[in-house]
Amino acid sequence: MMYEIRDLHLSLPDMTRKPLLGAAPRIEILKGLSFDVPKGAVLGIVGGSGSGKSTLGRAMLRLLEPTGGSIHFAGTDITHRTEDQLRGMRQRFQMIFQDPMSSLNPRRRVGGIIAGPLRLHGMDGLTARVNEALDMVGLPQNFAQRYPHELSGGQRQRVGIARAVALRPDFILADEIVSGLDVSSQAQVLNLLGNLVKDLGLTLAFISHDLSVIRRLCNRVLVLHNGEIVEESETATLFDAPQAAYTRELLAAIPLPDPYQPWG
């Protein structure tokens, strides 16, 4: 198993309701989630805004510390590990962020952005590795000299993917990585990610609000609603026979590019 997650709880202080004195009340964002991510799986995590899907992703990467339950990554309990204890194993789980404009440091060149994490983990042959990563995501090698703002949205997201795969991780979390892209770049990025997962034998968790995109890429789907799992099943099963009422509502609301779709 890549990930074993049991009864995961996470609450954050609500600063908007903080009284003048004393601690802010906490809002529970994840309310006891349990699921596994088998090795080699491509797991889709879907839900609306406020469903807790991004928080779940950040907890899996231990950018947030859970308030209850446990997260095991490849057999190791990482629930409450400190940043120092995690550092050595961070190379094994990576993340691609939603907004590459924000996740790529605007004042560093693409080459530096990809090489930075490699250097931290003591890898050698940086130039070769950067070039290889750029090849893998279909960008020309001279892009290493460019700044993020000189690239298009789709190209930027490829750099985000290159940074993650260059480390040769076991697991990648992709958080809404195509939601800001046009359909044609979206199709390219999705195809690219699908191929990389196959070629590198990656395990992938793919967070999205868009079930159409999930179907394209994932073999298992987790439907999240208000911090709880309302449905977990094989992709085909989910789309052919959705069990939870919320999943059915979600599917029924998607406008297909088809004027004859009964949509209400």
């Binding site: 046009d182 999705l190 609301a253 590019p257």
Partner: protein, 289 residues
Amino acid sequence: MSGYLSIRNLTVCLKSGAPILRSVSLTVSAGQVHGLVGESGAGKSMIGKAVLGTLPRALHVTSGEIWLDGVNLLSLSQTERRKQIGATAALIPQDPLTALNPSKRIGPQITRRLVDILGWSKTKAQQRALELLDEVHIPNATRVMRSYPHELSGGMRQRILIASAFAAEPKLIIADEPTTALDVTVQKQILRLIAEMQQRHDTALLFVTHDLGVVSKVCDTLSVLYAGKVVEDAQMNRFFMRPIHPYSAALLAATPTYTDPTGSLTPVPEHVIEYVEKEVAEHDVRAAR
């Protein structure tokens, strides 16, 4: 001029002369919904902005006509134009959060337009606002009128913006990606509401979106844009059955659908981009002559 809004050969350029819109022509009749589709940078929002006179400073109209309610907007002076637009057109914006003033209550934000532009009395405007909130299915309208924007959900705020757009009975409404910021379930309700309001008020609606799925649900006709040029004008059913322009077809093929179990996605192919780029270049040569 046929149609309620009629745009003829509208060309909009940057100060440097680089065209942003290339001889765009389209017509929206009363009671019709016309979709503007394209990828980011195709100029679809700029058409709405050119009509409303809210183009960014760096852009200006170099040629063309915009006929609204039988008047060519571009032949009017600034003030006359603003008056004409204020009386006949309204906008449903993309982001319901920034479109409402966070420090003002909802009520005055709806009535303001009625009082200032149409010269209604406060009580009459108030009455109308309550009716409108009822029309967009907002329960407890009197209480909502006294609320601040941050106390309401995104869907609720978008309903208020819709109500406010229809407040002065405009003949034309421009909706600029009105549901992009919303969840699909809320999007469905809002799209239905827009369609319902548009039909009840017999308004012409120009609907800007990047989502072909959304277009197929609300529009009667549509224009596909690439690099500020209309590459295909179509009646909706025909478009989805049989798109004529290769770029339109490629755009459709790149749109993911959950009903397709093979789930194959085709990015817009290189040769289609080359084809449409060539068309754009040819257009520029013709325009320069």
